[in-house]
Amino acid sequence: MEFSFELLWEILPQLLRATVVTLEATFCGFFIALVVGLVMVTFMRARARGVRIAARLVMEFLRATPLLVQVYFLFFVLPEFGISLSPFLTGVIALGCHYGAYAAEAYRAGLEAVPKGQWEAAVSLNYGRLATYRHIVLPQALPPIVPSLGNIAIAMLKDTPILAAVTVTELMFVANEIGSERFQYTEPVTAAALIYLVLSLAAAPLINLIDRRLRPQETRA
């Protein structure tokens, strides 16, 4: 079996258009994940024990069950309640909720990494709760969270093919479609895999750059 560069050239525009969908799904999903994670971590740090446990359970559940089944769940179950969303929106919400749980964990780890003495110092200086977060805790908690969020974004990029299962026309879906139309899987699937490789290899230095930018002066190497 030969690898046909002509065929590759022919299908490349289709694949690149699908790559745009993949990137859109990643960005939208990531944005949702950031918000969902924030909501979750707020509940996980709530005063009431019941709320904390419930939030923890939801987070563990979202992280421990397959994204594919979660996508099916939203895709098939929401319409039963009269909510019908496009496959893209359904997929992106599922992606955002699944990785929102990972984001919540990243936020939590960052917040807990701030030494207890910092909170105590804030109390001793009579900072309010909000002021403590804003001026003392978050500036210290955020920098270590950034690389974790970067890894989450890359992981999301590589999980977008799962959305193909509900007919989102992202990269893997299109590659597979081309394959089944032409009975020729080699070029589209290989090209799709390579596009993921290029995207995630490109993402790593980008995240490093953002990380370095956000890092406060005193901890820069």
Binding site: M1, E60, F61, R63, A64, T65, P66, L67, L68, V69, Q70, Y72, F73, F76, V77, E80, L157, K158, D159, T160, P161, I162, A164, A165, M172, A175, N176, G179, Q184, Y185, T186, V189, T190, A192, A193, L194, Y196, L197, S200, L201
Partner: protein, 219 residues
């Protein structure tokens, strides 16, 4: 709920396939994690370079893309593997590449003084690894490998897209016939969650068994 009871045999069969694929993939992943994690830090570039290529390749491309590649593309090169082999190979190799970081990180977390003490006592390098480093690193690895196996469990659901009749596949079959999708999918999600709890519980027990003495509790 009666739908679930009606189709219990399909679900049980699906769980069986899911567990089989998870277990086989986990064995492959942990083996690859050690092989590539150790080779990654080897002195010889003959070991290091292939390890880097493997790790970057499998971490950089998507698991589903890898699975599709093995399933759809490899036959056109004359290699015909059963779907089960494609699934296990893709999940095992992909997660093995992630696992290499667990092995490297855990070994690096062993304090440098331990290696120096081993040199002072004249252990060979292989002995240092086996007697001094590995037992201490294993304690750090256990919960992380637990998380990796849960990722493998989740990844195993993708085999339903290459015709294997795992739990996800069966769930989809049932909801194609029946319209009560909420119940079926909820039950399936809960089953996955319970399996994941079982895995993390196992990992915690292993971690505790390995922590004897180390944390001062003398357990």
């Amino acid at each position: 709920m009666h739908i679930v009871w009606e189709y219990r045999q399909l679900l049980v069969e699906g769980v069986r396939i899911t567990l089989l694929i998870t277990a086989l993939s986990a064995v492959l992943a942990i083996f690859m994690a050690f092989a590539s994690g150790l080779a990654r830090d080897a002195r010889s570039p003959l070991l290091r370079v292939p390890a880097i290529i493997y790790i970057e390749l499998f971490r950089g491309t998507s698991l589903l893309a890898q699975m599709f590649w093995l399933f759809f593309v490899l036959p056109s090169f004359g290699v015909n593997m059963p779907a089960l082999a494609c699934g296990v190979l893709a999940i095992g190799l992909c997660n093995g590449a992630y696992g290499s970081e667990i092995v490297r990180g855990a070994l690096r977390a062993v304090p440098r003084g331990q290696r120096e003490a081993a040199i002072a006592l004249n252990y060979s390098r292989a002995q240092t690894f086996r007697i001094i480093l590995l037992p201490q690193a294993a304690r750090i690895m256990a919960p992380l490998f637990g998380s990796l196996v849960i990722e493998i469990l989740k990844g195993s659901s993708l085999v339903s897209l290459i015709t294997l009749a795992d739990l996800t596949f069966q769930a989809k079959n049932i909801i194609l016939v029946h319209l009560n999708t909420t119940t079926v999918l909820s039950v399936v999600l809960v089953i996955y969650f319970l399996i994941a709890l079982f895995i993390s519980g196992g990992a915690r027990r292993i971690e505790r068994a390995l922590s004897r003495g180390v944390d001062g509790a003398g357990r």
